[in-house]
């Protein structure tokens, strides 16, 4: 590798070493990839730099330096068909080995991100899992305390789900859980969040002013047509933030207590009472 004056150009090797050290300290994989591209552009004063990665789960992924939106009339010509790797304008011919190594680092970073994503989501329903939901819950509590916004934590427990499993088997039970997940995903309003936080327990983060709003929302979550062969109802427990609690643990405790009381009172409180129509 040589610079313009024939003197060996160490910039590629130096950048690669820096990036190797940065990978583990980066806040996320996508931030690391953005940093790689930005530093490539800065180091060689490039017009453009992209990286195309092929993740085992996400498939082809294209990243733009600066994380900038693509201008539709300036989309990088043929960038995906050039295959995986880093593509620059102008082309850095002499640094091909270093660019290839940096692209491998980006692959690792994206894989780490994807594993992180999977750690926050429920693979069966695609909803957040407890950990992913709690991140949003904690952020909502902070906003509620700071700005005085109210929201509700709702715990939903499917009624008699064990009997469903016994009746139609675990595969059928999984189908019911997927269907409930779809109902929640499609039925919630913008900004509301759903999660599967236990075997047959779901949680909702609803931006509501008080308990009076919840029944209408849960009514709207009645299932989509088609699916499984069991009649599913649910029982709900609600806790309001900040009026009733303003910590994650306290909100769960309040909502869980309400859910417990509703279950034992045999209440449909508020409760999904219609069977999902099955074919």
């Amino acid at each position: 590798m040589e610079g313009k004056d024939g003197v060996p150009d160490a910039r590629g090797r130096t950048l690669l070493n820096d990036l190797v050290n940065e990978l583990s300290a980066s806040p996320s994989g996508v931030a690391f990839i953005a940093s790689c591209l930005d530093r490539l552009v800065a180091t060689w004063d490039l017009k453009e730099a992209h990286v195309v990665l092929n993740d085992a789960v996400l498939g082809l992924q294209l990243f733009n330096a600066g994380r900038r939106p693509f201008e539709l009339d300036r989309l990088p010509s043929g960038v995906l068909s050039r295959g995986t790797g880093i593509h620059t304008e102008p082309t850095l011919v002499e640094e091909a080995d270093e660019l290839d190594a940096i692209a491998r680092l980006c692959e690792v970073a994206l894989r780490l991100d994807r594993l992180h994503y999977e750690s926050l989501h429920d693979p069966l329903t695609g909803l957040y899992n407890r950990r992913g939901f709690d991140d949003h819950l904690a952020a909502s509590i902070s906003r509620s305390v700071r700005y005085g916004w109210s929201f509700g934590l709702v715990l939903l427990d499917l009624d008699g789900f064990k009997a469903v499993n016994d009746k139609i088997g675990h595969q059928g039970g999984d189908d019911v859980l997927r269907q409930v997940g779809e109902d929640l995903r499609h039925g919630l309003r913008a900004g509301d969040i759903a999660a599967r936080v236990g075997g047959d327990e779901f949680a909702l983060l609803l931006h509501i002013d008080g308990p009076s709003s919840i029944e209408a929302i849960l009514d709207r979550l009645h299932g989509h047509e088609g699916g499984n062969s069991a009649d599913i109802t649910w029982t709900a427990g609600l806790a309001m933030c900040p009026d009733e609690a303003s910590t994650v643990d306290d909100l769960y405790r309040f909502a869980d207590q309400r859910l417990y009381e509703a279950k034992h009172a045999g209440q449909a409180a508020p409760r999904r009472t219609e069977s999902t129509s099955r074919s």
């Binding site: 082809l60 294209l62 939106p69």
Partner: protein, 78 residues
């Protein structure tokens, strides 16, 4: 109010069909532009709704959402 841009970008890229994400701030720094570049051939039918839900779940500030469909499809390798 801040948005976790890393999380937003990752969750968008996990929507099937999304191959690129662009993020930018308005010149006054008050709003966020979110661009999702999509290959329709591998996208689910409810792609737009899925993208919208990801944005709504992660962004608590004024946001403009731009979904670019198939602008790269002719360049997709066989």
């Amino acid at each position: 109010m801040t948005t976790d841009l890393d999380r937003l970008e990752l969750e968008l890229r996990c929507v099937p069909g999304v191959v690129a994400v662009g993020l930018d701030r308005d010149s006054d720094g008050e709003g966020l532009l979110v661009q999702a570049v999509v290959l329709a051939s591998v996208a689910p039918q409810d792609l737009r709704a899925r993208i919208r839900r990801v944005v709504d779940a992660n962004v608590r500030e004024p946001v403009s959402l731009e979904i670019v469909v198939d602008a790269l499809s002719s360049q997709h390798p066989a």
